[in-house]
């Protein structure tokens, strides 16, 4: 271990201690028997989970809504990102490059939940706000990834097509896109996975989906309902993970 590592590690330790001190977190109390019983009591209220048919009907709708929000948000973002990727990869001149990159950075820097807060103000409560929030943040993320993929795609196929008389658009479609779209698809699916998780919590600020049900049931101290919602969330996340893994194997690796 050299001196630099020693300094870094002691710095880390100091930072951790300072963090605990600043937050006045009392680890001894947190791990005490009293806290444990308190948490156990709280946890016990989640059991038995609500299995009522009427409630699950409602849950099913909210699950579909979450799914729809994430899918439509990701799809809209992918379409927007595909358009912005061209200037952001420097294909349309330096001014367009700067504007596109700046815009993407701004979209990406603001987290989905903050976008959702803003969208609830701008568009009202409900899934539309959540979908728009997902779209905005995801456009920032995908736009940058798409642009990087575009920059790294070999240009010779498109060049060759231009040399035999095709237009720039045609050369892009036949020379660049075939190499590009599997990567774009992979990035979009990866983001979709992420967005399903996000869509299930955007409801905390009123932007629709499962999160809204969780928030409401916890606020009304209906822990049994909350447990059902969380079960749905888990199932949704696991299902989407496996689905997108299958798609990736089929389209990207093959």
């Amino acid at each position: 271990m050299n001196r630099r590592q020693l300094i870094a590690i002691s710095g880390l330790l100091v930072a951790v201690i300072a963090a605990f001190a600043y937050l006045q977190l009392n680890l001894a109390e947190l791990s005490s028997a009293r806290t444990a019983t308190l948490l156990a009591d709280y946890l016990a209220r989640f059991w038995p989970i609500n299995l009522g048919a009427a409630y699950w009907h409602q849950l099913g709708h909210a699950t579909l809504e979450t799914l729809a929000m994430s899918a439509v948000g990701t799809l809209a973002a992918a379409l927007l990102a595909a358009v912005i990727a061209l200037p952001a990869a420097g294909k349309l001149g330096p001014l367009a490059y700067l504007i596109a990159r700046g815009g993407l950075n701004l979209l990406r820097a603001i987290p989905e939940l903050v976008w959702a807060l803003l969208m609830v103000l701008a568009a009202g409560l409900g899934p539309n706000a959540g979908t728009l929030a997902l779209m905005l943040h995801t456009t920032g993320v995908l736009g940058r990834l798409f642009a990087e993929a575009l920059e790294n795609t070999p240009t010779t196929p498109a060049q060759a097509l231009r040399h035999s008389g095709s237009s720039a658009t045609q050369a892009f479609l036949y020379g660049t896109l075939p190499n590009l779209w599997p990567q774009w698809l992979a990035y979009s699916l990866y983001r979709w996975e992420n967005n399903i998780r996000m869509a299930s919590v955007l409801g905390f600020v009123g932007a629709g989906g499962l999160g809204q049900m969780l928030y409401v049931s916890l606020s009304l101290f209906q822990e049994a309902n909350a447990a059902s919602v969380m079960l749905c969330m888990l199932a949704l996340v696991v299902a989407v993970d496996s689905f997108s893994r299958v798609l990736r194997l089929r389209w990207v690796i093959a």
């Binding site: 605990f20 937050l23 729809a68 929000m69 948000g73 568009a123 728009l132 998780r197």
Partner: protein, 272 residues
């Protein structure tokens, strides 16, 4: 000459039809409509709100508030990641196959696998529930404030670190650890001398990356009442104070940029 049918045309047609069939309920359920931005009454509200962004709120009281919230966010991320490390590392040591003794005894199953299976499930549950859901639960359990945020990060990131650490241990060269285990050393000794030296760079790099993620997460945790900048953002938004919102957004764009720089610095210091 009879040209064969394009084998891709049927799958393409089917995929497009399925996509279209799914798109309609998707659009209905998500109520997707960016048109609301441009509806006459909304346009005025949004324009007014945006116009309020400049000049940024910068009176001394507010700045002090922002500074305190920023520090709180940083502290939440740091303390949460530290706790997550304390949860993740032991779990990883238990569930990893890299330190399994089964390979010597030749037994099909061992006591170890009976312990490992439920712990693996625990890791899956810890990390599959989004951190902000943990935060919401802890806010109900231990009350408003940063403690809930720290615990939320500790649990969900503990689950992720546990899984990824175990994978890292399994990916390094297994021969040194196996030799040590065969020579009768304990699991912990075998880890310290056989696995850790070659796994350390990846462990450090992943942990630092997680800290960065924790920072981004703590920024928004406040929205459900778990302290930090998010709580301020929500408050200012509810008050419709555009200038304050703008200052706060700027603060956390800067914070994320700072985290980026800090983590790069840390990685460089620790890995060279």
């Amino acid at each position: 000459m009879n040209t064969p049918r394009d084998p891709a045309s049927l799958p393409r047609l089917l995929i497009s039809m399925v996509a279209l069939l799914l798109l309609w309920p998707g659009l209905t359920l998500s109520e997707f409509n960016p048109g609301v931005w441009f509806a006459a009454d909304n346009r005025a509200t949004i324009a007014g709100f945006l116009a309020d962004f400049w000049p940024l709120a910068h009176d001394a009281d507010f700045l002090r508030l922002v500074a305190r919230a920023t520090l709180e966010t940083l502290a939440m991320a740091t303390a949460g990641t530290a706790l997550a490390f304390l949860i993740g590392l032991p779990l990883a040591l238990i569930v990893t196959q890299a330190l399994s003794r089964r390979q010597f005894s030749g037994a099909r199953t061992s006591a170890g696998s009976f312990i490992r299976a439920p712990l693996r499930l625990l890791l899956v549950i810890l990390r599959s529930v989004p951190e902000i859901v943990w935060a919401l639960l802890f806010v109900r359990a231990v009350g408003l404030g940063p403690t809930a945020g720290v615990l939320a990060i500790a649990l969900s990131y503990g689950g992720m670190l546990g899984k990824v650490y175990a994978e890292i241990f399994e990916s390094v060269d297994a021969k040194p650890a196996r030799a040590l285990l065969a020579a009768g050393s304990s699991r912990l000794q075998a880890f310290g001398y056989g696995v850790l030296p070659s796994a350390a760079p990846e462990l450090v790099s992943y942990s630092v990356y997680r800290w960065e993620c924790a920072l981004r997460a703590s920024v928004v945790m406040g929205i459900v009442g778990a302290g930090g900048l998010g709580q301020q953002v929500e408050l200012s938004l509810r008050l419709f104070a555009g200038a304050e919102v703008a200052s706060l957004l700027l603060a956390f764009v800067l914070l994320v940029a700072l985290a980026d720089g800090l983590s790069r610095l840390l990685r460089k210091a620790l890995l060279t």
